[in-house]
Structure formats: structure tokens, C-alpha cells
Symmetry: C2
Subunit: 337 residues, 2 copies
DNA sequence: CTGAAAGCGCTAACAA
DNA sequence: TTGTTAGCGCTTTCAG
């Protein structure tokens, strides 16, 4: 069933059908009704590929979401969609797995959907000009930046928290409660990901507070998974190192870590204090509720869209935004006794 | 940059470029190298729309995932992908929001991607023949069935747990521990969704065990959200109804419910026992760990693909599979005292 | 092994 | 208000 068939059945030309389907104003009521009747009767659905191919332009803004089912992104996506639509654009979203190349996906989508701009939700921190050269529309990195890359600041935008500072703040919070032996749970301290940035903030804080960096208290679990955090911490606990607090670089890692702690009969926060970064919904429901530094998700979505549209419409230029986190008071931090 | 440009630059015809790009065997090494060089030099990416449009057929199997970021689906998707590829097909996945129409999305994708078959991951239970008439390839409903619909059993497949029985089992588990006042937390008892099916299992169990259905113990929170479950249960607790156990129809609703219980100073399972259905990863990490009836996710993904491919290749026919749940022993069920 | 040319289904001038 | 027609970028016969 193609537009041609519909045209024939309705006794009009394909262009008339096309006009009806696209709500063009210059169609007679009569033709409109005839076409719509046939369309509905036949359950006709236009072919998007053909549509996209024929069109020369669009008002599409693409969103490439890296890492499926990250609860953390859901709110941001919602906000992005709201603002994109409010500005008269259409959001086209695609989720890719963590192992896929977001740049490639973006470049592809740019051509397919004739994008006006692109938002990357999650991605690597080390893009080079060479790597992003295949994308030809303005783009903004949401939730990450180019910390370990070499992009020119005038060639991309980013909206993210200051991960180093967030980690610093987390450690400070523990320090202020008297903790001196602070373990850190991370993916790896040198993987060029957000794990590294937050680790660097941890180290900086220790320095500032006159604490010594103790490698024994650095727990690398080699992933951001809840399960790996659990087993990694569980194993680490066998060492019996002395510590009174634990900084987890991500909320869900904290969930894994806390179970490991419980299973070793540590009470939280009685024996061990725990703090993290992210502020996903689930950790509002842990027992005890996780104390964490929340990323301002709504704000991040909003800013990403605003910056992008400003650029698209020639009003603004690329910029790198660093947002502050908001501390969510939970019940996992106690005073060192 | 189109295939034409590449052809010109490489000094060959578009067909040769197309052959190279699609790994056709009948291309001279020389032509191949020339083309590849130009392609890489220019960062050329073929346009998928044009590609799809031109192609007459494919080996694609579509997956429409309903409800973004449902942690429950992640594992199933992984399994589906594995098996699809193993059988020489390609998985094409699309996520749609809970408010979108999965049938429409499937029908669209079928035409775009020239699908051989379709798997719906999550969806409504009340399809009618009329509604699915727009999809023209075999499809299987994964994680749900047509309980409230009117499809002919020979027109679709489904792979799901027996939700009614799972609910029954959950209630039985509580009953066997001596509980007689069993509250149920659900979205709504009559919304035609899985919430209703599980509610019916709850009612059936009460009947079988000679317990009276008490409307005061039916907690409708009007959604499947963790937050709504939390606030719904919290509010309900103000009534001070007598109960010793709580059956939550979904794991994440149990997370919300448990927080509400804690905040009212109920200890779990000391004062109140809790049981649920689903078996998502997060609830392995709650404190205490949730006792729940797990859906066999891997198996569900596998069966869906196997059934579909059997039909596609003319070996099998549509069927409705009902899988059993697996009880995960947690620590939220106690003996009534 | 290679090229020319006919579509794939739709949109958008351009004419009428 | 309508119809005709030329593409959009690619794949795929069909000849050569």
C-alpha cells in the first residue's frame, strides 16, 4: 500500500494525497474527506524512509542516548522533549548501547533526519576534532564534557556538573563529620571516564584536608554496574582495612556497596558512612536513604536545548556550562566516633 | 556527500561503489581499494533511508520496547539480540514511551525496515483483530498476552508468565506463613493491565484459602511508579487498617511501599511481610532483600525469538507460552505471630 | 568484473 | 485547488 494506491483509490493525484497527509491548507474539503476515508479504510501508513529521503530540510533535533535504561537519563529526556517541542522543533531520539559509537550514530542520524542540531546524552570525554568531524551540525554534550579531549571550545557545547568538585564536596561532607579514613568505590581511577574525574576530585579533597591518599582504600570495581560494585566491595572487605566512610562515585554503585557492607555486619551509618553522586530515584528508597549529591537533571535538559537552539537560530555561540550539584540529605552519613 | 560523489572521486560507477559498500564478492581488488580509500578519506556514511527504500527485502526482526528504561527489559533485550543474530537475522529495536501506540510503531517499522517479524516487549492485553490488522508479519507479545483481547490464537504468539498464578503463589506464600490479613498494592484492580490480572490472582487465592476479600486492604496507587506506590501506601497507612502482610504486584512498587512502611515504624518482616512479582536487579539490593517471584527473563527472550523464527521459516505456528516464575528467597517474609 | 538505468515511496516545485 | 514530474540516495537487475 503506497501513496500511489491511495491516490488511485481516491481518484486523485499523489500530490493531493501527500497534501492531505501533511495537512497542507490548499486542499478542498471534498478531496480531503475522500482521501482520509481511503487512508483509514486501508490502514495506510506513509513510509518514513521515503519521506525523509524526499524532504530537503526538517526541524529535527536529534538526541543520542548512550547506555540503555539509565534511570538517570529518563528525567532529562523528558525535559529535553518538552523544550524542543515548545520551540517548534521535533525531538528524534535514539538509544544506543554503551559499546556503540555515539558519534557515528549522531552522524548517521544527522543525514537521515536532516537534523538541525544534536544532543548527546552520555558519552566519552576524549573526543578529538578528527573524530567529530563527521558531524556537521551544532551539538551539545549533556552530562559530560571534553575534559580529556582536544576539541576547540568554540566547536561544541557541554552541560554537566563539575564532577571533580562534586567528588570534592562529597569527601568534604565526610571529613566535616570527622571521618579521616575514607574509602572510594569507583570503576577505575584512570579510565578517562567520569570515574577518573571524580577520583581526581577525591584526591584533591584528601590533599586539601591534609589526609594521605591510601591506595588500600581505593576500590576499583571495573564497571558502573550495581552487581560489580557489590562483589568488588564484598571482596575488598575481606582485607579488613581500616576505614569509617565510603564515597561511591555513583548512586547505583552505592546500592551495591551498601549491601556488601550490611553483609559484613557493618551498620550504616553507625559503623560506616556512605555518600555518593547522582541522585537517581531508586536511592530515595534505600534503607537507609542514600545521602548523595544530585545532578540537576531538569536544568541539564533545559540548558542543553536552550544552548542548542540559540546556536541553530544564530543567536548564540557554543559554551561549556558547569552546573552545581544539590545535596540530598539522606541517612547514610554519621559522625565519626 | 552521496554515493555519486564517491563514485566520481573514485572514478568508478555508483553500482561499483554500492557493491563495495555491501561487500559483494564480484568487485576487483583494485576497485575495492580505490573506493574504500575515498570513502574513508571523506568520512562517507551511506544514507539508511535511501538504503531501506531501495531494498526489496531484509532479514530484520523488529523489537518494539514499550516504556523507556524499564530495568526489567534490559536482560530480555540482550537475550533477544543474541538469538536473533545467531540465526542470521538482524535486530532492529525501537523504544517508545508508555503513552505511544506500539501497534502503530510496529506497523511503521515493518514497512520501513521490511521486517520479517516483530516482537513487542510490553504492551496492552486487549488487542482486537481490527487493531492488529495493520501489521502484516508474524509477531509475538513478550511479557504479556491477549487476556482481555479478542485475537484468534492462531494469529499471534505470546510469551509471558502466568500473572494470575504468580499472584496466587505470592499470596499462598504469605498464607503459609500464617498471614491472614494480606493487603495488596496495585495500580488499579480493573484497568485491563497486568495489574488487573495479578489482582484477580490475589482474589482467587483469598477464595481458595477461605479468606475474605477486604476492600480496605486493596491499595490502588493508579500507576506503576515507585513514587506513586510510596505515597499511595503512605496515605493508606493513615487508615490504620489491620494487616500483617503486603503483596505488591511489582518489584519497584514494593520498593516504594517498603519505604512507606518503614516511615510508619513497621519493621520488615518483623511486623509486616512483603512479597512481590518481577525480580528486577535493584530489589536484590534492598534492605532487607525483597522476596519476590522472578520472571524468567532470559527464557522469555529466547522463546520469543525461537517461536518467531520458526514461523518465519515455515517450521512452526503461532502459540501462547506461559512460563512459571521462580521464587527468589529474600528476607521480607516472616512468620505471623 | 563493471556500468547504465529503472525503480523504492514520498515531497515539492511548477504548471495548469 | 489540482496534477505532472523531477528528484532524494541507494540497490539491483540487465547488458556488456
Amino acid at each position: 500500500m503506497t501513496i500511489k494506491d491511495i491516490a488511485k483509490l481516491a481518484g486523485v493525484s499523489v500530490s493531493t494525497v501527500s497534501r492531505v497527509l501533511n495537512n497542507h491548507p490548499d486542499v478542498s474539503k471534498d478531496a480531503y474527506n475522500k482521501v482520509m476515508a481511503i487512508v483509514e479504510e486501508n490502514n495506510y501508513i506513509p513510509n518514513t524512509s521515503a519521506r525523509d529521503l524526499g524532504k530537503a530540510t526538517s526541524n529535527n533535533i536529534g538526541v543520542i542516548v548512550r547506555g540503555m535504561s539509565n534511570p538517570f537519563f529518563t528525567k532529562i529526556i523528558y525535559e529535553i522533549n518538552e523544550r524542543v517541542e515548545k520551540n517548534g522543533y521535533t525531538m528524534v531520539m535514539q538509544q544506543i548501547s554503551a559499546s556503540d559509537d555515539e558519534i557515528m550514530a549522531g552522524a548517521l542520524m544527522e543525514r537521515e533526519k536532516k537534523l538541525k542540531g544534536l544532543i548527546f546524552l552520555g558519552g566519552r570525554l576524549d573526543y578529538t576534532p578528527q573524530q567529530v568531524s563527521c558531524i556537521g551540525v551544532p551539538f551539545v554534550c549533556c552530562t559530560f564534557n571534553n575534559k580529556y579531549g582536544t576539541l576547540d571550545k568554540s566547536d561544541y557545547s557541554s552541560v554537566a556538573i563539575d564532577d571533580n568538585q562534586a567528588a570534592y564536596d562529597a569527601v568534604e561532607k565526610l571529613f566535616n563529620e570527622g571521618h579521616r579514613k575514607i574509602a572510594v568505590v569507583l570503576s577505575r581511577p584512570d579510565d578517562g571516564s567520569v570515574s577518573q574525574v571524580r577520583y581526581e576530585g577525591y584526591v584533591r579533597a584528601l590533599n586539601d584536608f591534609g589526609l594521605e591518599l591510601d591506595d588500600n582504600l581505593v576500590i576499583s570495581v571495573n564497571s558502573f554496574n550495581i552487581a560489580d560494585a557489590y562483589s568488588g566491595v564484598k571482596e575488598w572487605l575481606d582485607n579488613d582495612f581500616d576505614f569509617s566512610a565510603m564515597f561511591c562515585i555513583a548512586d547505583n554503585m552505592a546500592m551495591g556497596a551498601m549491601r556488601a557492607l550490611r553483609e559484613s555486619d557493618f551498620s550504616i551509618p553507625g559503623d560506616i558512612s556512605v555518600v555518593a553522586i547522582d541522585g537517581i530515584e531508586f536511592t530515595e528508597y534505600t534503607n537507609p536513604q542514600l545521602s548523595t549529591f544530585c545532578q540537576p537533571m531538569q536544568r541539564m535538559g533545559k540548558d542543553s536545548v536552550d544552548i542548542l537552539i540559540d546556536i541553530i537560530e544564530g543567536r548564540g555561540h557554543h559554551r561549556q556550562v558547569e552546573l552545581s550539584t544539590i545535596f540530598r540529605v539522606g541517612a547514610t552519613i554519621g559522625t565519626f566516633k
